[in-house]
Amino acid sequence: MLPEYGILIVGYLVGFYMAWNIGANDVANSMASAVGAKAITIRQAIFIAGILNIVGATFIGSHVTNTIRKGIVSIEVLSDPHTALIGALSALLAAALWVSFATFKSLPVSTTHSIVGAMIGFGVMTGGLSVINWAKLGAVVASWVISPVFSLVIAFLLFKFIVKVVLSKDDPFEWGLKFSPLFIGSTLFVVVLSFLFKTPLGKTLALGNITAIVFALFSAATLGYFGKYLLTRILSRHQARVEEIFRRIQIGTSCYVALAQGANDVANAIGPLAVIYFLVKSGQVGATVPVPLFLLFFGGIGIACGIAMAGHRVMKTIGTKITTLNNSRGFAVDFSAATTVLIASKMGLPVSTTHAAVGGVLGVGIARGLEAVNFRIVFQIMIYWVLTVPAAALTSMAIFSILRTIL
């Protein structure tokens, strides 16, 4: 059993490295608008992002991890434990390699796409093209297109709404305060629901759908009004500027993004590792093996380490580059991105937080909310979609062939 344990150790290391990369590269998405809009400092951003990524990964994350592991690649390829073990390891290695290459070359490559591509490569190597669940893969690819568009639409509508009911008023501060329970409450509503649905916590509480929604609505409304009370207390002494309200709310929404990001992205690092873990522990992988909580926690820690180590440099760039994004815009971007990612996460679709955030910024841009936004990044991202998946698949296949001859 010695080589198996060796593989497990390597799996842990590479899984951690992947998580680290997610933290280092994607922290910008959750905290960029808040730091850019000067709602929080760099130090606060790193701290919040680290903690909430761990929380999100551990308590909301499990569902997605299942999907990547057994949704796209048919369970049949996992029947031979030895092959499956090598396969999962090569998928993880290939994805890690791609992410490193992308970071080195400064390419907008998503970790999500790398891991999905790598899993496909391994599946094809072991069972041919027939083991790929094309319908499922189609749904995943569709979610990559739909998620930025969805985020764009939410951001567009939300920003237009903010302009109409708050910013364009003669006394925007008063109106902002009036609507603050709605902004705070709707954010909390989605967060509470995501905790209650399809998570270990939700299962323990065993609330029905209706009860859960009612509970979420009630708590969101209560906390929303409490938030308004706090805002009134804090801000009445200040100069009555409406952006100050959004600045406070934005601290909350950037937490929301960090949470959603942890929940969604942890699967990229932990998915293949979970396969390895179960193969080594039990010798086989059943159809319904849950991902252990500690693996998710391990992934969350990895992401947090990445944030802690590379976050500072990234945030500094953000602070100087994103000067046109103020708090009301930042709120719209954060809200749309996090809502998109959480919904996708709950549906078991591995979408990219980056793409959701990009969609959100474009939505505000189309609503004429920003002084200058480069739309062309969309095409660049699309090119890398088309390139990353097959490239990661091929790399994974090559590593698989090598490992099979060695081990």
Partner: protein, 222 residues
Amino acid sequence: MRLPFLSMFVTSPFDGLQEHAEKVKECAWTFQQAMECYVAERCRRFAELRNEVTQMESDADVVKRRIRGHLPKGTLLPVDKFQLFRYLREQDSVLDTVEDALDWISYREQPGIPKELEKDLLLLVDSVVDPIEELSKMVAEARKYFKNYSEKQRKVVKDIITTLRQQEHDADKAEDVLKRKVFALDTLPTTVFHTVRLAETIGAIADHAQNAGDMMRAMVAK
């Protein structure tokens, strides 16, 4: 590291627009000094002031090129890109025309403007400096409008544009008075030609400021 999220944010052209407008304003003040110097009895600093204006004009050109060069295809702006460029062109023409006026004087610095016309010339100069000063204010107020889209703020911008129109009209009248008087004078034909052309060039400064205002009106249209 280049993150997709970050590469979406390109430099705001409005920063540049504001900077350009400030340069134009500075230039207007130097222009005013140069004109006062030209009218004055013993003017030693005219050449120096003219060089200053030329220098500012080339500084502003750098800003202009930077704005144009940093707007890649597919940049989303709160306004139409062509409107922005046309606005910038008009704002830049203000500066070019100021430079033209000083150049024109330098071709025939002596014997200077006829005594009888000194006051009218200075009045004309003052009447074109006012609209130039409005430009930077207009850009700043327009930026505020693009932040909150409030009707109140739109009104502020529109009021500035109305002021610009009025000031252009005043400048036209001052130009008219000057030209009328110079023909009535018993003086050299070259002096008449020089003065008329000078009055027209200075008057054109206000025209360009007004054109800039009209482009701004299009930009803040709903």
